[in-house]
Each structure stands twice: as C-alpha cells, then as structure tokens.
Symmetry: C2
Subunit: 190 residues, 2 copies
C-alpha cells in the first residue's frame, strides 16, 4: 500500500522523501493545505487535522497517509510560541523572541515535531524532540525561521550556522519521520 | 424563535444577556466548548466554528445561535497577538507584551470582537472594534487579561482602572453584540 505525505510545502515533501529512501520506502506527495485547530498540544492538533482531512477528502479514508506539525517550545516563556510558531515568527519574529528572553537566565528550549500516521483505520502519532538553548542574539545566515536563535545541545553552532547535512542530524522533523518509517518497515517485514 | 448564545463561559453569557435586555430580547445559554481553527482572521475562525459546531451538534442546525471571538491587535507587532490572544496572555502575559513594545514608538492597538450569527440557514458576522494604545507599564488593578496595558482613545484610564460601567461603554464585545441585537430587533419588527 502506498503511503501519502499530505503537505502543501514542496520542501517538506522532498525532505521526507529523502529520509524515506534511507528505509527503502517510497512515499507519494498529496498536495493539500489542511486546517489546524487552536490547541496547546501538537499531538491533538495533528490527530484532529487527520480527522478533518478525511471529512473534506473522503477518498483519503481508503489510503495510508501522514502529516507533520512542529513548534518551538521555550521553557521560561511557558512553552511559547509552541503550536503557534509560524504565526509568531511571521509577526514578532526572532527579534521579538530575543526581546522576550532579554532578562531570562533559563534559556532552555526544544523543537518538537509530531508526525501523525493514518493506516486506513487508526491514527498514531510519532514524536521527535531536539533540545537546546535560545541564544542571546541572532547568529548565522543559513536556515530559516527560528534557526538563528536556536543552538542544539552538544553543539556550539546555531541551526543557522550549520551545513544542511549537520542540521539534519539534529532535525526534530527527521527524528519523528524516522520513528514512523522504522515502524512502517518493521510492519512490512512481519 | 429563541436565540442561543454558545459559550462555555458563564460571565460572557451574563454580559450578553444584559446587553440583550436593553433590546427587550431574551437569549438562551447553550453551554458548549467548541473548537477554533488556526486562522489569521477572527471572522473566518468564528464562521468555521459555527460550521464545526453544526457538524458535532446537528440539533443546532434547526436553531438560531451565535458565538463570539475576540483578540487584541497591535499595529507595530504586525497584529500580534491577534486571534491567539488567550494563548499569548497565558504564556508570556502582559509583561511579555510590554517587553515586545519596549522600543516601539507606535503604540497603536485595537481590540476586535466578532459575533457570528446563524439564523437557521446562513451565517453572518458582526464586528466591534475599540481603538487605543498600549501603555508603557501595567496600570490599574481591575479587569482581566490585557486590561492593565490598554487605554482606549478619548480616555485617560486603562481598562483596568475603569469601573465596569465605564469599561462597558468601550467594550468591543458589546459593540458587536449591539450590532447583532439591532439587526435582530429590526428584523422582528418587519
């Protein structure tokens, strides 16, 4: 059975497809911009997105598919920006986060990715987390989003300073995808 | 035909009920916590909440009902926190907003309320807006939420300094409710 990745973002599909190849899996792109609910938990948002997609696209009920949602969670800001990371990046940006963190000694943060997989009958979620800290200024020119202010543990570079190959080693998205693909491969071998 | 206000918040129902009495209208409380989508527009969120409520509670399709959603929009923060105002208040709070506004000369902001009304066949939205500025510090002990940092135009007090009666004169929620109730009363007289 083919596995479809539902996303409107071609780079996200390409990344997932590359990771899938490591597992000798081939995935198909289902180009669709779906709705996300306002919830504090990425797992609930991803699960409910699967349900709402099946309501608007009934043909998907017969397929195997997955989708992925991610966010940056900052400890001293009570998890902000969390599930609303894109909105927050598009409005107050990295400088906004740095302003909010100005007097915070605790710089702990993590990126979290949730992949929700529908196997034709139930939905399962897989989580990838990358822990690190929020820097005190913008560092690095590469990457996108919060990359210039996030430095993963065990490395002295921000995501924006790393080569893509190095950043991929720390990628929360690739972690959640690898758990899904491991589970799919194990299942196929049974 | 009875008009139902869908909210899980008893104070919101009480406020709406008091405003309705000015119009000799009586409204009924339909206690239900509904889902809200992640969208940049309150109008779209309110409309889609109506649709999703009718999917989960089919009996509502036969009733007349309304719901209300609101947010604080700050000009120099590109509309942040907007539709995510409760989440932002619960995580970074008023001090977070003040940190973000520290170096901003433009303090313009507005509270916006959208009431979405379903009349048994179509959904209509009504908008109430209250313009003002974000103060440079917390001022006043009353109110809730962003009240201590918002001062409406034409007044020298923040919402948190006002008596409830004065604050009601500026209430964005009451504005959108009054437009709805005016429209309902006009219709009833036809």
């Amino acid at each position: 059975m083919d596995v479809h990745f539902i996303t409107h973002n071609p780079s996200k599909y390409e990344e997932a497809s590359n990771v899938a190849q490591e597992f000798n899996l081939s995935i198909k792109w289902y180009d669709h911009e779906y709705e996300e609910l306002q919830e504090d938990s990425l797992e609930i948002i991803a699960r409910k997105s699967c349900l709402s997609i099946m309501q608007t696209k009934p043909e998907l009920k017969e397929l195997h598919f997955f989708l992925e949602d991610a966010g940056l969670f900052i400890k001293s800001l009570n998890g902000f920006p969390g599930p609303y990371s894109s909105y927050v990046f598009n409005t107050i940006g990295n400088n906004g986060i740095l302003d909010l963190m100005k007097d915070k000694e605790d710089r702990e943060a993590y990126f979290k990715s949730v992949t929700a997989y529908y196997d034709g009958s139930t939905i399962e979620t897989f989580v990838g987390v990358t822990k690190g800290i929020i820097t005190k200024s913008l560092i690095g020119e590469g990457g996108f989003g919060f990359d210039p202010i996030f430095r993963p543990d065990d490395n002295n570079q921000t995501f924006a300073e790393m080569t893509l190959a190095t950043k991929n080693l720390y990628s929360h998205r690739q972690k959640s995808l690898r758990i899904l693909f491991t589970s799919l491969t194990a299942f196929a071998k049974q």
